[in-house]
Every structure is written in C-alpha cells, then in structure tokens.
C-alpha cells in the first residue's frame, strides 16, 4: 500500500488542536525558562554559599539527568508527596526549569562579561547593587545572549514532544491518536513534522525581530 494523503484533511482539526497545545506549552515554558534563567543566574553569582550550594545540586539534577525522567518525577513522583499537578502544568514546570538551567548558564557568562565600568557608573549615580543589576547589568547581559537563548527555545519546542508521555494532547500525541484510528503513521507523522517546522519558522521570525530591535542598543 502506498502513501495516501487524502485521509489527512479529515483529521486536521485534531492535529491543529494539538499544534495549539504545543504552542501553548512552548510559550509558557519559554517564558518560565527566560525569567527562571535570570533568577537562577543571580542566585548562582550573587548569593551566599548556603543558598548557592543547594542550588548547584538542583542545577546538576536538571542538567545531568534526562528530561524525560524529570517529567516523570514531576508528574508521577510529586503526587506521592501530595503535589498533584495537572499534566499541562507539570509539563511546563519540567520544560521551563530544565531550560531555565541552560539559560542561566548563558546569562551568568554574559553578566560576568558586562564591562565593570557599567556597574561603577550606576553605583556612582547612587544606585544600590541590586538596582544596578536590575537596571543596567542584567538588561545588557540578556541582550547579549538573545541569539543562543533563541536556539535553546527552538530546542525547547522540539523537546515539548516529550510531554506527550505524561498525557498532554500536544502535537505528537495528537498525531499518534489519529494514527491509532487511521493506521497511517507515515502520513500523519509527516504532517506533524511539517507543523513543527512551521512553528519553528515562526519562532525564528520572532527571534530575528527581537535581534533587529536590540541591534541599535549595543
């Protein structure tokens, strides 16, 4: 039996609903990983060791173990200690924290690379260290790592397929469900791949817009 794409249009509603969930989970996790990344970077660089060391352990957990395992831990594991998260929330927390740790590494390096004259100039105007970080150093550090953070966000989109295993009806799981009904894996996995690719293009477009906007301010 050859390929038959005529079955596709009848199931596009399910596929597109799945795509909508993929976009939702990607955007929510991206936002969490962005602000989480800044927060983690500040913890890693500026807090007392009593805070920093436990944080390092947490960071190791997220960098050194498979994302899939982390999702299982958050969704199935936490229930045992009374934290019962809906699958979507568990997915966002898992993806968001996982990529926050990677973003934090980038942002830490960028913070260190901001010219120390910037902090000095802010302090001489009378800003506290916290104010200087918030208004002067961190905005510049973040601006400098927008391109690699953008790459992380595209990896995040692709890894969002993993939340299908905890039952979020995102694009991959939707495709699987349609395949269960039609026995047409090749067609629907290809359709899903095409939809991922389109979302990817949209993300790259957004990233380029952001980069163009910040190009002047360097």
């Amino acid at each position: 039996m050859g390929l038959d794409f005529t079955v596709v249009p009848g199931f596009m509603d399910i596929i597109l609903l799945g795509a909508l969930w993929t976009v939702a989970i990607t955007v929510a996790s991206a936002v969490l990983s962005f602000f989480g990344g800044i927060f983690f970077a500040v913890i890693a660089l500026y807090t007392h060791w009593t805070v920093r060391l436990p944080f390092k352990a947490f960071e190791w957990l997220f960098m050194g173990t498979p994302l899939l395992l982390q999702l299982f831990l958050i969704y199935f594991g936490l229930v045992q200690i009374g934290i019962d998260l809906p699958a979507f929330v568990a997915g966002v927390v898992g993806l968001g924290l996982h990529f926050a740790v990677y973003n934090s590494e980038l942002i830490q390096t960028a913070i260190i690379a901001v010219d120390k004259g910037q902090m000095e100039a802010a302090r001489t105007l009378g800003l506290s260290r916290g104010e200087a970080l918030r208004k002067v150093v961190i905005p510049q550090a973040v601006r400098d790592v927008i391109p690699p953070i953008g790459n992380n966000m595209i990896a995040l989109l692709k890894d969002s397929a993993l939340v299908s295993v905890i039952g979020v009806s995102e694009l991959t799981l939707s495709a699987q469900r349609v395949i269960g009904k039609t026995y047409r894996p090749f067609e629907f996995y290809l359709v899903a791949a095409a939809v991922y690719y389109v979302i990817n293009l949209c993300m790259e477009w957004v990233q380029r817009r952001i980069e163009r906007r910040i190009a002047l301010s360097r």
Binding site: G117, A121, T124, L125, Q140
Partner: protein, 256 residues
C-alpha cells in the same frame, strides 16, 4: 571638627593593594566652588584618590568628608550601603571611558537614576533630560543610542547624566584621555561652562593647558604622595620642587 569646615576634606588617606601602597597619607581640602586639578604620571595614585572620594575604591585608612558629613564612616553593612548611596547621589562622576548605558537612549541615560532614586514623574524627567542635554549641547541626540555618538558626544552625555542628579561636587577621571584630539575641545568647553557656573570640581587630567586655564589649584602627585600643590601659575610656571619640574618637562616633550 575643631578647625574651620571645608567643603571636601580628605584626611590622612591611605590605600594599599596588597603590599603596594598606592596612597600614602594624603590630605586635601576643597572649598565650595573651587576647581582642583590633580596631575601626575600613571600609577601615581591620582585616580585612586579621586575614586576614594565617592568610595568607589574604599580607603584602607583615613577619612573623606563632604559638606560636613563623613563619606567613609564605619557603619554596619546595610546601613553603610544606604548611607553611601545617598552620598553618591550628591557626587557626580565622569569616567575616561564614558560608561554610558548602551542599552538605553540618551534620554534614558540621563533620566534613569533621577526617575529611580528621586521618583520624578515622566514629565519632570523629560524636562530634566531636555534641560541637561541642552546644557551640554546634545539635545538633538536625545533619541539616539550611545553607539550612534562620537566619543566627545558620549562624554558630553555622560556629563549631562551626572548633572541630572544635581550633584554638589563633580569628579572627572581623565575625562578626555580616551578621545581623539579633535574631540577634546568640545568636552573641555562643557567643563569650562561648569566652572563658570561655580560647580565644585576635582579634575584628574593629563592636559596641562586645560588644568592651567580652569583650575584654582593644582596638585602634583607621585608614588602616592602629593609632591607639590599650589595655584596653576606657580605649579606650571615656577614649581618649587625638582620632581614637579622634571614631570612637566617630560610631559611637554611627550606632548610635542
């Protein structure tokens, strides 16, 4: 204080980096409206002394007083931070490398600190930015980013940024040293204008002509001590100390 009150007073300032003594028992007084120049070769401690005045490089020993308040008084950490931030709001500083905030427009460079620290409204901030930029001749660049400006323009904006906090005292740390020669004059003009308005200023500089023309008093520093101080006519034309004469002669040869 037992003796008469000076506007700025540095008493027995000492500073070491490890075993290297950068400042060895320096005393300096500046009166309100005075302009004091500090000259000397690299590594003489002149920038360190300037940076000690707003505690950017804290002294190892000695006291800094501004307008009757000790800048580097000993306080518990949190209280000291509050105190020093309040002191620094009264002291403007201009750096050799400008240190403008590249992610902010010229307008926001000028208004960021007053908005954050003095809580002025957006309208007040706009008026303040226009007023300060007009003063340094940079109003037309109000919407530009620092990357779009020449070095001289950047430094004029940096001066406007410092003045926007309405400081009592301005510190200039080799403000024109990083500029192309043809851009030095526009910055010097702005500093002269401030001098005419009787701003109290302490100026670390390599430009002897400029120091001679604006300063009321000039200090020559070498190896962490003040070798000689006096009015510019004396320091530049007829210095007492052999070391001062040698420095000036080398400097003139170097410049020529």
């Amino acid at each position: 204080m037992t003796e008469e009150k000076h506007f700025v007073e540095i008493r027995h300032a000492k500073k070491s980096f490890g075993t290297l003594e950068v400042l060895k028992d320096i005393n300096l007084t500046v009166e309100r409206g005075q302009i004091v120049g500090i000259i000397g070769s690299s590594g003489s401690g002149k920038s360190t002394l300037l940076r000690a005045i707003n505690d950017l490089d804290p002294l190892s020993g000695g006291e800094v007083w501004l307008d009757g308040v000790q800048v580097n008084k000993s306080l518990p950490h949190r209280q000291y931070e509050k105190h020093i931030n309040a002191m620094r709001q009264q002291v403007g500083m201009v750096f050799q490398h400008f240190n403008l905030f590249p992610h902010l427009t010229v307008r926001d460079n000028v208004t960021m600190a007053p908005k954050l620290l003095k809580g002025i409204s957006n309208d007040e901030a706009e008026t303040l930015a226009r007023e300060q930029l007009e003063h340094v001749g940079m109003l037309e660049k109000i919407d530009a980013f620092p990357s779009q400006l020449s070095g001289g323009q950047k430094q004029r904006v940096a001066i406007a940024r410092a003045l926007a906090m309405k400081p009592k005292l301005m510190l200039f740390d080799e403000a024109t040293s990083a500029l192309d020669p043809e851009l030095v004059e526009e910055v010097n003009q702005v500093m002269k204008k401030l001098a005419e308005e009787h701003m109290t200023m302490i100026i670390v500089t390599h430009e002897m002509d400029f120091a001679a023309s604006v300063c009321d008093r000039v200090l020559f520093m070498e190896k962490g001590v003040v070798v000689e101080e006096g009015p510019p006519e004396v320091i530049f034309k007829n210095p007492e100390k052999q070391r001062t004469r040698e420095f000036l002669r080398k400097h003139i040869e170097g410049a020529a």
